[in-house]
Symmetry: C2
Subunit: 211 residues, 2 copies
């Protein structure tokens, strides 16, 4: 018997368990819960389909572990940055920097989260999301204060936060459409998205400059 909750004997990166997990990760991210098939996962992991059920009992359990790992991977970085007590300007710079780096390393994760959360909201909220999400209160307060102090143009703090996130995330999510509309090749698009970090930061600060 082999339950994953047990002693993590050998999660060496080429253990069978890990190979399955990696294959599942890849396929779930690419095709979602509905689109990914157990047989395909087994094939990609180079093993028998029965082994999937030996290590991870059901498709749902396997999905749950993969999705959890995805979520728990990114959240701490975002959390630490946004909940820190860096001064506002520095915080925004760092947030954009870390966030875009994070996404560039895992370009398909945001779309996975968004679209799976839309398709299976109950499951996601109950079983996958962590109890404690990043809390934006500190950031929102900082913006309020900066507005009051006249350091930045008057803006609604919540909208500002949403704007920053939109500017960071959306281009990666909508990459295929972007490529088509702007007539870009893969490499051009890569190049272009690499410039986003500075471009977005500048855009935000320009928008915040008091008049």
């Amino acid at each position: 018997m082999r339950a994953t909750e047990m002693t993590p004997n050998d999660k060496t990166n080429d253990s069978t368990e890990q190979k399955i997990f990696d294959a599942a990760h890849e396929l779930f991210v690419q095709k979602g819960l509905d689109g990914a098939k157990m047989q395909e996962i087994a094939d990609r992991a180079g093993i028998n389909k029965a082994l999937l059920h030996y290590y991870y009992r059901t498709k749902d359990k396997l999905y749950e572990m993969v999705a959890k790992s995805i979520i728990h991977q990114g959240i701490p970085i975002i959390q630490k940055t946004i909940e820190s007590d860096l001064p506002l300007e520095e915080k925004i710079i760092k947030f954009v920097d870390f966030y875009i780096d994070l996404i560039r390393r895992n370009p398909f994760i945001p779309l996975f989260i968004i679209s799976e959360m839309n398709k299976h909201p109950e499951q996601f909220i109950e079983k996958i999301l962590p109890a404690r999400l990043p809390r934006p209160e500190i950031f929102l307060k900082q913006v309020e204060d900066a507005v009051a102090a006249g350091t930045i143009r008057p803006v609604n703090p919540q909208h500002l936060l949403l704007n920053i996130i939109s500017l960071c995330v959306f281009p990666f999510v909508a990459r295929p459409i972007m490529q088509m509309v702007l007539g870009m090749q893969k490499t051009e698009a890569d190049q272009f998205l690499k410039q986003r970090k500075t471009e977005v930061t500048e855009f935000i600060f320009a928008a915040l400059r008091p008049r």
Copy 2:
């Protein structure tokens, strides 16, 4: 025999054909090609499953028609706005205005397009996207000119376009996460998203103001 390519005898809104189409529309948008099941579509349309195949031969064909109709619905509005020769400022205002209105009327469409295009790129590009997508050249040129004339701060036109679209679309796409992080109820979120139009426009123009 009943082929949809034939004379559109009675596409009255409560014809069987239309009821099927509407049910399929709803489910495909909600669950995607993989997640939507023919039986469920039949149930929702209140008819026998065999009728689906009588009117639309296969799932793929049905999906193709629904997806096409979705795409072709929004594109002309965007196209007309962005390809018009309104002055830049006016164009941006109108674009944000129309675009956000469009999305508010169909809040699940953007995520549908993005996620389905990522999951079935070949099918989407070959069978569903129209030959002619909105061409951004005029807009890009206008931005260049405005930069050269010093009317706006120097920005990369492509990034600017992408920024505008990101600010308009992303909040609707990421709505569930937004609600959780900002601790909003449905009605609050509705209210909040309603404010976006002015908020986004102001944000963009502030970011473009020459220093």
